[in-house]
């Protein structure tokens, strides 16, 4: 995957309703999104891979994604890989509990003190993996997650909605005019920014060159590749013109 400027890590939780481990997965994921790594992570609802559109299904191709699963059925991992893209890492709550010799949570509905402690443990493991994917090393933060009182807004990230990538809230999508109409291309602006920073300028073949990267994040029918390359060359020339070159 190209090193995009906005290198956030995607988190996809199973949120399984039948098992307490699903609730642990969900709460732990939220703790990372809101408390531990609010500016480094983004999420999307797993069922949206089927209920949504191409923008949502591009999620795991755009972000290196960690699947957070409650049990060994690994719905988040398998669902993401079936409908979006390969996952970069995996956390399975039941495995963590087994490895640490910890008991099952008491309730799937409301986590008690022990359940919250388990959620913090899992959150810490997720945060560790986020750092690893971003190439950062931080000291373990076990136990520092403050759950008392009202939830606090995280710095620069409004609570709740902005960490969710549904309807492209976290996925930058650019509408590009093609011969047959407008097409939404995921990640085009950051890809242009990166190409520009690397010194790429409008020239014969630039559209084909950009297309190789665009295809990492977007489905491009083979029959439409020529039209995509032409449109990308045009859009990139306009982009460079706005940059002043």
């Amino acid at each position: 995957m190209p090193d995009l400027p906005d290198k956030k890590v995607g988190l996809v939780s199973c949120s399984g309703e039948e098992l307490a481990e699903g609730t642990i997965a969900r709460v732990a994921t939220r703790l990372v999104l809101e408390k531990l790594r609010p500016e480094e992570t983004v999420t999307i609802c797993l069922p949206l891979f089927l209920a949504g559109g191409q923008e949502e299904r591009a999620f795991a191709r755009f972000y290196p994604t960690i699947a957070i699963d409650g049990c060994d059925k690994m719905c988040a991992k398998r669902g993401t890989e079936a409908h979006s893209g390969p996952v970069a890492d995996l956390v399975v709550v039941s495995d963590i509990l087994a490895e640490l010799g910890l008991p099952q949570p008491n309730s799937r509905r409301a986590l008690d003190e022990e359940g919250l402690r388990l959620a913090r443990l899992v959150a810490d493991e997720i945060a560790h993996k986020v750092d690893a994917l971003r190439g950062e090393a931080k000291a373990p933060e076990l136990g520092i997650v403050d759950l008392s009182g009202a939830e606090r807004p995280a710095p620069k990230v409004a609570p709740g909605e902005t960490v969710c990538a549904c309807r492209a809230g976290g996925l930058p999508v650019t509408q590009v005019e093609m011969a047959w109409g407008r097409v939404g291309i995921v990640g085009l602006q950051p890809l242009f920014e990166r190409a520009y920073a690397q010194g790429l300028r409008p020239a014969p073949g630039v559209g084909e060159q950009l297309l190789k990267t665009v295809k990492v994040y977007n489905y491009v029918p083979a029959s439409a590749e020529g039209e995509y390359a032409k449109a990308l060359a045009r859009e990139y020339a306009a982009f460079c013109q706005r940059k002043g070159t």
Binding site: S15, E17, E18, R30, P47, L50, A82, R109, L147
Partner: protein, 146 residues
Amino acid sequence: MTTNNKVIIIPCSGIGKAYGTVGREAAYMVVEELRPGVTDTVCLSLLVMGEEEARRRVQENPCITIDGCPLACAQKNVELAGGKQAVNLRVIDTYKEHRDLKPQAVTLIDENGRQLARFLAQQVAAEVDRLTAVGADSVVPNEEVR
């Protein structure tokens, strides 16, 4: 696990918005408090993965879906699984009737969210009663949307 003759309550459990948390709480209220024994839930993620047992359960039992946002993930995934979609409820509709109960928290439900979930759960329970009175066999499965 066999859950024939039970009404399956499936919330979207949306992870990005407070309404997803409210829907999830309402589902648990129904399954564990208001109508235990005649209702059950299925992991929505199992349907996303296409697990056969989960698909069979939503195909053989009437389903009430609860969605937290207009993307209607619960409803659409049940429909895609060929489930017996009996009723779809939206958290926003309950909120419109109780605008003083604006839920804020997503990770752990807050008091407004809990109260809103209580109202929603009562609606779900009423639908369960209607479905169990008329019988599950009378529910016509929705056509697949794609």
